[in-house]
């Protein structure tokens, strides 16, 4: 097979894995993880083949036509940026699959979990390799949907359901912003592929729509990457099982927004708007996230808020526009994926093996879990930016980029040092506090984790060390191609692990020292931040609830106003509108028909049939009870059917006969169900307006029919059907041939409607009065009262 077909296969592979996962888990239990990990492993192997070319700075594109008429293709773009992401997603994904094998061992829905994780992996892979805009958007929303499934995995808990819905609304809604932004970019540039868009940077930046496109794209990226003030869904997403938090909410999905910004940097970046908005939001997110992390005591929540802070740092670096800021962002992104994934899994191990994850209720675990302790320390060293881990190189590069002496550099350097110092403190609070000190009694007796659990974090932590020690190779294979792809021009990353005396090292040292102070004073810091938060007393999380509650209240109010629940009100409204359209529109535009023309010699039998129709109508109006009225309506219908028959439309007549029969039967049955009084007791005050509306509708329809039949008849279609019905559709009955052949797709739609209508009526009929759910059931006020 050629490379394109194999790449397509590799992109489809996670979804195949998702299909077989439940079955495999039923057969092999939690050991299915070993088999399922082969899927991401195969993806890593496939994409590794692009490595030599991409390292040389080449861009590999390929794909298939998808909707050629709209110039939409299923195509991929593999360069330094997307390849790094692919390897992170599939590589960490493989470790996460193994880890969840151990973490959810014996869980009755473990197969489903594997399935969701693999589906998410496939969506994320598709997102980062997408070349076409539409494909990017589709996979973007798919990651939102799969993340919804994963966060709400433990769906019996209300908190999990709320968090899942919140994440879906925030990130899925952001996806719509992204779609709008992409459509603007498409309109301005005229291309639908990212690889072609790179040549349109100048046009984009000079377009009057630039700001609109930028804000919409940022709306998508900021919601996905949990930038302040859209960050609140990320800590709530910690309701998901820990493998999900480690994978989606630290290493991969939340980076999708950063990925998008990096991808569009050569096109949208470099403008004053870009360099103001990104550092502003990123910097705010960094400081707020890091401060909120110190406020928490739950291991996962602490890590979640530092993730938010790290994402802020990445957005800030992407937007700054300083030389080396892009390189720093590339390095930090890789370093963060490695250490945060490992730390989350460590937090999961601690939770799994001790039954507790509150940092104030853990201590002295080092003797029971020595291996976990070593892994945690290695990851925390990287997170703290300490020698000789990869985080150190990233931090050196960050400070190198920020070591200018202009005002802007100094401000952002201060922000970075403050944020990093806070994160330093949290890193060691997570990785050190539970393991040292006196042993604290935990719900479960602590012991070392099984291999499935420690393998993943151990490999990630080791990777964080080896990537730093072999920094030359790392830069050649990953950092340099990635930085070049983000900046849109060749950039070489050379930062080595060996410390150089200089401003960056001084800033690093300062960060570590301040971090140590924060760590030692963490309890006081926590109280301080908690007090500030209590003073503010409101946050975006509360705001989200208020928004949703307000939305529900608004729709309930609107529904109450529009839907009275009384059939006669609906009917009156509908018919008044019909009469209005039929009468007022022709009157305003002077489109009344000419007086009808009567043939002088209408045969007697036709007159008789028309008389029957009129008699039927009169009978309906004068009928003493409802049943007689229904049957009389049938008389009128049959008379009309006979007229159809006389004028050469046997199919129509035939159908009309059957419809009349059935409607009489069905109406009669409905009448018996409704238990109405047998006759009509409307007061005169209601009868008169009803009569007027009926008369107006009838008059309107009559006028419309006269008008339409007065228009000269265009026989093109009739001739076409008559000519071709027999010759190409092999049928003499033109009506039937039109229904089932010429316009078969219409009929398919119609019978689908018939079926759905049937289902709807069936469920309405089955509703018993007692089980009728009223609108009030969805009323938030009613819930509050209850």
């Amino acid at each position: 097979m050629d490379v394109a077909a194999l790449t397509f296969l590799a992109l489809a592979l996670p979804f195949v894995g998702a299909l077989v996962a439940p079955l495999l888990t039923r057969l092999l239990g939690h050991n299915a993880a070993w088999v399922l990990a082969l899927f991401p492993a195969a993806i890593v192997l496939h994409f590794a083949r692009f490595w030599p070319d991409v390292a040389k700075g080449e861009v590999v594109t390929g794909g298939y036509a998808w909707i050629p008429s709209f110039n939409v293709s299923f195509s991929w773009l593999i360069d330094g940026l997307s390849l790094t992401f692919v390897l992170l997603i599939a590589g960490i994904g493989m470790l996460i699959v193994l880890y969840s094998g151990g973490y959810l061992k014996g869980h009755p829905q473990q197969g489903r979990f594997f399935s969701f994780i693999l589906m998410f992996m496939g969506s994320m892979l598709g997102l980062v390799v997408s070349d076409s805009f539409l494909m990017l958007f589709v996979f973007w929303e798919l990651t939102s949907i799969t993340s919804f499934l994963l966060i709400g995995f433990d769906h019996s808990r209300e908190a999990a359901r709320r968090a899942a819905l919140q994440a879906l609304i925030v990130t899925g809604g952001g996806g719509l912003f992204l779609l709008a932004g992409l459509l603007i970019i498409w309109n301005v540039s005229g291309v639908t592929q990212l690889s072609l868009l790179m040549a349109f940077g100048t046009e984009m930046r000079e377009s009057p729509f630039y700001l609109a496109a930028l804000i919409l794209v940022l709306g998508g990226a900021f919601t996905k990457s949990a930038q302040f003030p859209f960050h609140f869904w990320l800590p709530n997403a910690m309701e998901a099982p820990t493998p999900v938090s480690a994978y989606l909410h630290s290493a991969t999905m939340v980076k999708a927004g950063v990925y998008l910004l990096m991808r569009l940097n050569p096109v949208l970046g470099g403008t004053p708007e870009w360099q103001i908005l990104l550092p502003l939001f990123g910097g705010a997110t960094l400081v707020i996230g890091a401060a909120l992390a110190c406020r928490q005591t739950d291991l996962k929540l602490m890590l979640a808020y530092t993730t938010m802070a790290s994402l802020g740092l990445l957005v800030m670096l992407t937007g700054l526009g300083f030389p080396h800021a892009i390189e720093a962002a590339a390095l930090y992104l890789v370093a963060h994926s490695l250490f945060k994934g490992a730390l989350f899994m460590v937090a999961g191990i601690v939770d799994h093996e001790t039954g507790a994850r509150d940092v104030t209720r853990l201590g002295g675990l080092r003797s029971a879990m020595p291996l976990t302790f070593v892994i945690a320390l290695a990851a925390a060293f990287s997170m703290g930016g300490l020698f000789p881990f990869f985080g150190f190189i990233a931090k050196e590069e960050i400070y190198y980029a920020l070591s200018g002496f202009d005002r802007r550099s100094v401000v952002f350097a201060a922000i970075a040092i403050l944020g990093n110092a806070l994160m330093f403190a949290v890193a060691f609070a997570v990785a050190l506090k539970p393991f040292i000190g006196a042993k604290v009694e935990t719900p479960k007796a602590a012991h070392e984790a099984p291999v499935l659990l420690w393998l993943g974090p151990a490999l990630l932590a080791a990777k964080g060390l080896s990537a730093a020690l072999l920094s030359g190779l790392t830069h050649e294979l990953v950092s340099t191609p990635m930085a070049s792809a983000i900046s849109g021009e060749p950039r070489a990353v050379t930062m080595s692990v060996v410390p150089h005396v200089g401003v960056p090292l001084a800033m690093s040292t300062a960060t570590a020292l301040i971090g140590i102070v924060f760590y030692l004073k963490l309890d006081r810091l926590r109280g301080f931040i908690a007090a500030i938060l209590a003073d503010i007393g409101w946050g975006p999380d509360r705001g989200f609830d208020q928004l949703i509650r307000g939305l529900v209240r608004f729709s309930v109010g609107l529904t109450r106003r529009l839907q009275s629940g009384r059939l006669d009100v609906y009917m009156t409204a509908t018919f008044i509108l019909v009469a209005f359209v039929l009468l007022v529109v022709p009157l305003t535009y002077g489109e009344l028909p000419r007086a009808p023309f009567f043939a002088p010699d209408v045969p007697l039998h036709e007159l008789a049939i028309m008389a029957i129709a009129v008699i039927g109508l009169v009978a309906v109006v004068l009928a003493p009870d409802r049943l007689t009225a229904i049957v009389s309506l049938g008389i009128q219908g049959f008379a009309v059917a006979v007229i159809f028959l006389l004028y050469g439309a046997p199919d129509l007549a035939f159908t009309q006969f059957m419809i009349e029969t059935l409607s009489v039967v069905v109406l009669a049955l409905v009448m018996t169900r409704l238990r109405l009084s047998p006759s009509d007791h409307r007061p005169l005050a209601q009868k008169v307006p009803d009569f007027a509306i009926a008369l107006a509708c009838g008059l309107g329809f009559g006028l419309m029919l006269l008008k339409t039949t007065g228009v000269p008849f265009d026989a093109t279609l009739t001739e076409f059907f008559n000519l071709y019905s027999k010759s190409i559709a092999h049928g003499a009955n033109v009506v039937n041939v039109i229904i089932v052949d010429f316009r078969g797709t219409d009929t398919l739609g119609e019978i689908a409607v018939v079926m759905v209508t049937g289902l709807a009526i069936l469920s309405l009929v089955r509703l018993r009065a007692g089980s009728l759910r009223r609108i009030a059931d969805n009323d938030p006020d009613a819930e509050e009262r209850a």
Partner: protein, 139 residues
């Protein structure tokens, strides 16, 4: 329904009407008729049977749930369209074959399958409404 005559006649009447509905369905391509009309005739037949002998009897007689019949019809109609795609012509293009059964050439087509689908949808959807109304109406 109390009338003994009606109850005695209803099964025969219904069988005849269902037979007639199938006849109308099949002749539809060249003479007045077709899936929609045929389906309506069959529904009337079932409605009469239900009024005469009770809904339970009808449900037993048609064996499948009416909505399942409608679903099968929609499925058949869709398949009739999809066959064209498999034959690499646009969706819903009519395809004809003329196999010889006992020396008699029988024209078969995706169009006919489609019309049968229409028939089943109409029978299923409308009879399910009529039957459920009859069922609860007497309560």
């Amino acid at each position: 329904m109390k009338s003994v005559i009606f109850r005695a006649v209803a099964p025969f009447l219904t069988s005849l009407m269902v037979l007639f509905s199938i006849f109308v369905l099949l002749r539809g391509h060249n003479e007045p008729g077709g899936g929609f009309i045929g389906g309506l005739i069959a529904v009337s037949a079932l409605a009469i049977y239900g009024i005469a002998c009770g809904v339970e009897t009808v449900r037993r007689a048609i064996y499948f749930h009416p909505m399942a019949i409608a679903g099968a019809g929609l499925f058949a109609a869709t398949v009739a369209g999809l066959i064209s795609i498999a034959a690499r012509v646009p969706f819903m293009t009519g395809l004809w074959i003329y196999p010889s059964v006992l020396g008699l050439e029988v024209p078969l087509s995706t169009v006919m399958l489609f019309d049968c689908g229409v028939y089943l949808v109409v029978v299923g959807a409308i009879s399910s409404i009529a039957l459920s109304l009859e069922e609860r109406g007497g309560e």
